[in-house]
């Protein structure tokens, strides 16, 4: 059982700079054995939390990417039909019961992420990414799995979890999740990091980013986020930009306003936003960075 400070340190060692509240959430996750539901804008680093968590526990990360139409056969398990058929052909004329026992054995079972997550020797981190993209029906099914941690396969029987995985769910809020699922989970809203934290993230992730440059970049990005943009740049974009600046060999944003404006394309992802961020706007924001 780790304290919150230890958790924050362990996450930092894994390359994720957490705020105090997230450390609390993760300590609660271990204590209450509830899944953690992360919500927030795209690009604030929700998925990274799960990756860092896996690194912290030194365990496997099993990821289930949700999409519209995701069903049990893609999420839980499926029989390997081709191999089953081959086996039937090969044992033609044999004892029917024996063949049946054979083709419905573990060997012919294709493990999908959810089944894999409950059958590991060491509890893995199960990341259920963008749960809001899956259908309501799948959400209901997931709810059942998350409360019982057992799966019944008609041909094989019930499979109980050998270990309870650390479950992290993320949602972008494209669809309202059911109250039942929300209640089942701990809730954490991931916001854009403040200047301090973002500067520390840049320093942790980008080799060669100095403290003063990281801070300048973070302040600049903060300024850009306040502009009226269609697509607000996330942390991933910040890191891209920082990597680009470091790669070009910029040490001080104020000395190279031209380069700053030209590399802003790392942050802006639509034509509209790009035309809105004119040279003057860039210089105005840059003026505040100083």
């Amino acid at each position: 059982m780790k304290t919150r400070e230890e958790i924050a340190q362990a996450l930092a060692a894994a390359g994720y700079i957490a705020d105090g509240e997230l450390a609390t959430a993760i300590s609660l996750m271990q204590l209450l054995r509830r899944p953690l539901l992360l919500e927030g804008e795209a690009g604030v680093g929700k998925t990274e939390v799960a990756k860092a968590l896996a690194a912290m526990h030194d365990t496997e990360l099993i990821r289930l990417q949700c999409y519209e139409g995701l069903d049990q056969s893609a999420a839980l398990y499926e029989w390997n039909y081709q191999r089953q058929l081959l086996s039937i052909q090969a044992h033609r004329g044999g004892d029917a019961d024996a063949i049946e026992d054979q083709i419905f054995s573990e060997k012919y079972l294709l493990e999908r992420p959810l089944l894999a997550a409950i059958r590991r020797a060491k509890p893995p981190v199960l990341l259920i990414d963008e749960i809001d993209r899956a259908d309501d029906e799948f959400e209901a099914f997931l709810l059942e799995l998350l409360s019982d941690f057992q799966v019944s396969i008609p041909e094989l029987g019930t499979i109980r979890a050998t270990t309870i995985p650390h479950v992290v769910l993320t949602s972008n809020g494209t669809r309202e999740l059911s109250d039942a699922l929300r209640r089942r989970c701990l809730y954490h809203y991931v916001d854009y990091p403040d200047v301090d934290r973002e500067a520390r993230i840049i320093m942790a992730r980008i080799d060669g980013a100095t403290a003063s440059l990281s801070r300048q970049i973070a302040r600049m990005v903060e300024g850009v986020r306040k502009e009226e943009l269609r697509k607000v740049p996330g942390v991933a974009e910040t890191l891209d930009w920082a990597a680009a600046l470091v790669g070009i060999g910029v040490h001080d944003l104020l000395e190279t306003p031209e380069t700053v404006h030209e590399t802003l394309m790392c942050l802006l992802k639509t034509h509209e936003d790009k035309s809105r961020m004119s040279r003057e706007v860039t210089e105005r924001i840059l003026g505040k960075v100083a």
Binding site: T24, E68, L85, R175
Partner: protein
């Protein structure tokens, strides 16, 4: 998970823990009244957290409870205030139901937009340049508004209480139900396995024919799956619309009930999210909450700004590719018509269809002259009159085609 109620054996300690438990129960009740989904399990977990030393520092306990007891962004934002008010005796922030819009109103970039607002064009008429008080009661709504341009704040006169007539509610539900039936489903690209379909599902066919030794005797096919259409209604609740808001609120109530996926917003000078308030089981409470939301609006209609708020704070959550946006407004924009045009274009990119229902269209000699409606029309898929429930019913075949 064990509870903290284990008796330590000493009467006094027992008494203390009982008091704490009572206080905790009261806090959970407060949260429940504030709309949090908190059940007995959460109560148990909260108690066990207190027993495990999380209660030593208020900040830590608040953070822990916040994760455990809130379930969505609105809960998350309100929690600290509620916690401080209950446990630390500080004054709570007032509960805001229009988080998005208030944020937008405070953001500097939006303010600068308001300042640079262009002069309203002449066709909008003199009343629309001043924030007029839409304080005309239903009875004289028609003429009252046209002269009375006082700057006084509108308090409670936007009368949603008319909704309470049971016959009319029933009629509105009926229309909404019929609409829901015709508009309910849309095809998606995802296939679903069916016995009758247009494409062969090879994998499932092999599976179901294993018992025949792999000879494909019974075929499994795929067909496109039908998914519910989401209807998002934006209702103009400004003074110029006051004769119709009652009718449309009834209609929205029906829509929220009948559609599997529906959301509703009201706007005047600001945008307010009303789905939750309208879903209130107790109709009297729903009306109270709506009336509260109608308050605080000055005069005029800022359709463009309201849409901007919608696009910025709500659209990502509320709209998807199977959404139909229904705007009910007379199109008298007191803000910047160009902004309205821009926001309509942004909205059109995001959703499947935009329907604009305009009650004024039923009037004789009406032409879409106002700058607002002119700017908006190019982005609208269906522009139709609607001033009574009957005219809504007549729209059914057109809406079904969308």
């Amino acid at each position: 998970m064990s509870c903290c109620g284990d008796s330590p054996g000493y009467d006094e300690l027992d008494e203390v823990s009982r008091l704490v438990a009572t206080k905790l129960a009261a806090f959970l009740r407060t949260l429940r009244e504030a709309g949090f989904a908190v059940g007995p399990r959460e109560g148990q977990d909260a108690a066990s957290l207190m027993a495990r030393g999380y209660a030593e520092k208020p900040g830590l306990l608040r953070s822990a409870f916040k994760h455990l007891l809130s379930a969505r962004k609105t809960d998350w934002d309100r929690f600290d205030g509620l916690f401080d008010a209950f446990w630390l005796g500080k004054r709570a922030r007032s509960r805001s139901l229009t988080t998005g819009s208030t944020k937008a109103a405070n953001s500097p970039s939006l303010k600068s937009l308001q300042d640079t607002k262009s002069q309203p064009s002449a066709s909008e008429g003199a009343t629309d340049q001043v924030p007029s008080a839409d304080d005309a009661p239903e009875g004289r709504a028609g003429e009252g508004r046209m002269e009375g341009a006082s700057r006084a704040d509108n308090i409670s006169e936007v009368d949603f209480r008319k909704m309470a007539d049971p016959d009319q509610i029933e009629a509105a539900h009926e229309v909404a139900a019929r609409l829901a039936k015709t508009m309910r489903t849309r095809l998606t690209r995802r296939d679903l396995a069916r016995r009758q379909g247009y494409r062969l599902d090879l994998r499932r066919t092999i599976h179901s024919n294993i018992s025949h030794g792999g000879v494909p005797i019974s075929l499994v096919k795929r067909q496109r799956k039908e998914k519910p259409l989401r209807l998002v209604v934006l209702l103009d609740a400004s003074g110029s619309m006051s004769m119709y808001t009652g009718v449309f609120l009834r209609f929205i109530h029906g829509v929220l009930d009948e559609f599997r996926e529906a959301e509703a917003f009201l706007f005047h000078t600001r945008l307010a999210y009303v789905s939750d308030a309208m879903k209130e089981k107790d109709p009297a409470r729903a009306l109270d909450r709506l009336s509260i939301m109608a308050q605080g609006a000055g005069g005029g209609t800022k359709i463009g700004e309201s849409l901007q708020t919608f696009n910025r704070w709500h659209a990502a959550r509320v709209l998807h590719s199977r959404s139909c946006v229904m705007i009910v407004s007379d199109g008298y924009e007191t803000g910047d018509a160009r902004l309205l045009g821009r926001e309509m274009a942004a909205l059109a990119r995001r959703c499947r269809r935009i329907v604009w229902l305009n009650p004024m269209m039923a009037w004789e000699g009406y032409a879409p002259e106002a700058a607002g409606i002119k700017a908006a029309l190019p982005h609208v898929d269906l522009y139709a009159p609607a001033n009574t429930l009957k005219s809504l019913t007549e729209l059914e075949p057109y809406l079904a085609k969308l």
